[in-house]
């Protein structure tokens, strides 16, 4: 049986590799995720770059010469704001502007809170970092002046500062990085499902539609052997998609200037290998699932429709995990896809994973795969499935 399965496997792979369209989609799909990731984070990193000069357009700079001097002393480049600065901020050409009204000086001298405006567009993510820096500078200037005023009146400035809050961030750089890497598990799950999809459809629903299923089944080969060959081919292609995804992420992570975001991430070869090993049982399960679904479908088109809905499957647990973090436990490890999503996250966060979790996750997933395979074998024994239910 193994030998016959190998013959089927070799034929399916030869056939698949020659189909340039499905092959290129199988290889491009896994690259798409990492590429998107690289572009997204390169752009975000460039916004957050700390060493970028802070440009502060000021309208009415002559009303507040001291403030301007303070800003310049702290590294900001103060420019005269163009007359249409509000429009430009709305359009995203400027990140922000400070508007100093004419009676700023009068209030300032009189000891009243001197009003000035920080003009921003709160809907633009890209402006967030410079806005925060200007806000910090302004409050620094304000508290510095306040302290001086109190001192001049013989009052200790510490009286006006009843709280001294300082932030202690407990997140390790790896944890912060894992936040960024949340997208990686989604694409790994996706590779398991989408990688072998084309092949699974082509060698079942496609084979039936071409009329080649009938002559194939007339050979003295058992149906389990034929399906095992097709299963192995589907899983192998999904595994290639997984490897491509992992390598592409490794390349993307080494190219994106993540240090500008204050995190250090890399997908080292051992981590990649561990992720791959965790993903293989899911690829095996997904392959059997796809074969049985494609056999069940009435037509090739119907199989494609069913299976493209599968893209949603990996999204469900990943989204679920993002919205409400679950406490890991052996019970959850029995659930395919969800357990892999959790374990991927653990490995990426650099946390140690109990061996029992890995074993239960793999066993549960493989068991489900075998069940789907048995279902596919039963379907192939059904004459209505073999000859189509439409004709």
């Amino acid at each position: 049986m193994m030998q016959k399965a190998r013959i089927v496997l070799r034929k399916e792979l030869t056939d698949y590799v020659r189909d340039r369209r499905s092959l290129s989609s199988a290889l491009l799909m896994p690259i798409f995720g990492p590429a998107l990731f690289a572009v997204m984070f390169s752009v975000i990193a460039s916004w957050n770059r700390e060493d970028a000069p802070l440009v502060v357009p000021v309208a009415g700079a002559k009303n507040a010469p001291n403030l301007v001097a303070f800003l310049e002393r702290h590294g900001a480049r103060v420019e005269t704001a163009p007359p249409d600065y509000e429009q430009k901020i709305r359009d995203g050409d400027l990140d922000l502007a400070i508007s100093v009204p004419d009676d700023y000086g009068k209030d300032f001298v009189g000891g009243l809170p001197a009003a000035l405006q920080l003009v921003i567009d709160g809907s633009r993510n890209k402006s967030r970092a410079p806005i925060r820096r200007v806000e910090q500078l302004l409050s620094q200037y304000s508290s510095q002046l306040g302290s001086l005023r109190l001192l001049a009146r013989g009052v200790s400035p510490s009286l006006a500062a009843p709280l001294a809050v300082s932030e202690v961030d407990l997140a390790t750089p790896e944890k912060t990085a894992a936040q960024l890497l949340n997208v990686v598990p989604i694409f790994l799950l996706l590779a398991c499902f989408v990688g072998g999809m084309h092949l699974a459809i082509d060698c079942t629903a496609g084979e039936r539609e071409r009329g080649s299923l009938e002559p194939l089944l007339v050979n003295p080969v058992s149906r389990p052997a034929i399906l095992a060959g097709k299963w192995a081919a589907t899983v192998l292609v999904a595994m290639v998609a997984l490897i491509v995804t992992l390598v592409a992420f490794e390349v993307a992570l080494s190219r994106v200037p993540l240090q500008d975001l204050g995190v250090k991430v890399s997908l080292s070869a051992p981590v990649g290998a561990r992720l791959f090993a965790l993903a293989v049982p899911l690829a095996v399960c997904a392959g059997a699932f796809e074969l049985s679904l494609a056999l069940f479908a009435r037509t090739f088109k119907e199989a494609q429709t069913y299976l493209s809905l599968l893209v949603v499957v990996p999204m469900v647990p990943a989204t679920f995990l993002a919205l409400s973090p679950l406490r890991e436990g052996l019970a959850l490890m029995c659930i395919p896809v969800l357990s892999q999503a959790m374990l991927f996250g653990d490995v990426l966060r650099g946390e140690s994973v109990p061996l029992s979790y890995i074993a239960v996750s793999a066993a549960g997933t493989l068991l489900l795969g075998v069940a789907f395979f048995a279902f596919a074998v039963r379907l192939l024994g059904n004459e209505r499935i073999v000859f189509g239910r439409s004709g």
Binding site: R210, V218, P220
Partner: protein
Amino acid sequence: MIEVQGLRKTFGSVVAVEGISFRAENGVVTGLLGPNGAGKTTTLRMLTTLLEPDSGTCRIDGIDVFRDPMASRKRLGVLPDVHGLYPRLTPREHVRYFAELHGIDRRRADERGEELFRLLGLGELADRRVEGFSHGERTKVALARALVHDPGNVLLDEPTNGLDVMSTRAVREIIRALREQGRCILFSSHVMQEVAALCDRVVVIARGRVVADGTPDELRARTGRESLEEAFVQAIGSDAGLSQ
């Protein structure tokens, strides 16, 4: 040798085959003639073990098809009505694939393939993908694939359907050659000329039953008609569905 005894098959409430019995001897071309929808393909599919009959038996070289499907499939070469080739594979790869599934090693498969390609006149096309092949060329590839394991019994479902004159001649010659080799050949057709040109024995099927069985001469004698065509029409009861 193929023996069919009391074969019956229903699909839901539709009775496709209703108690068909016949024998196809070795070294004889037996034609299964009947209008479209008479139950020819269903009968052949039961012989190939892909459909299970509600009742009745099929024996191939004395082996009960449903008791031992593997052994009977080994003795069977099948050309289905839809040839079912893989567009991205070459004729040589088709032949190799099926040979290996029959447990024939690569070297012997290639030798046998070479022989068949020569016989079928496919030599130059042997390593081209079948994607762009004509209908006749496809039929020849499917035939080579069906014969690679040297089966003693050959089932051909409408083998000359849609072929041009040259291809039809080629296929007929191959069928005669197979008969000379002493094989049992069962072929179905709804084209009377095909059956008249090739068959030593004719089994006429209509509405799922055998309505006549014998040599063409016997058929003519039994129905009392001069031409074979009229004999068929007489046997079937109408000329509906019979191609001229």
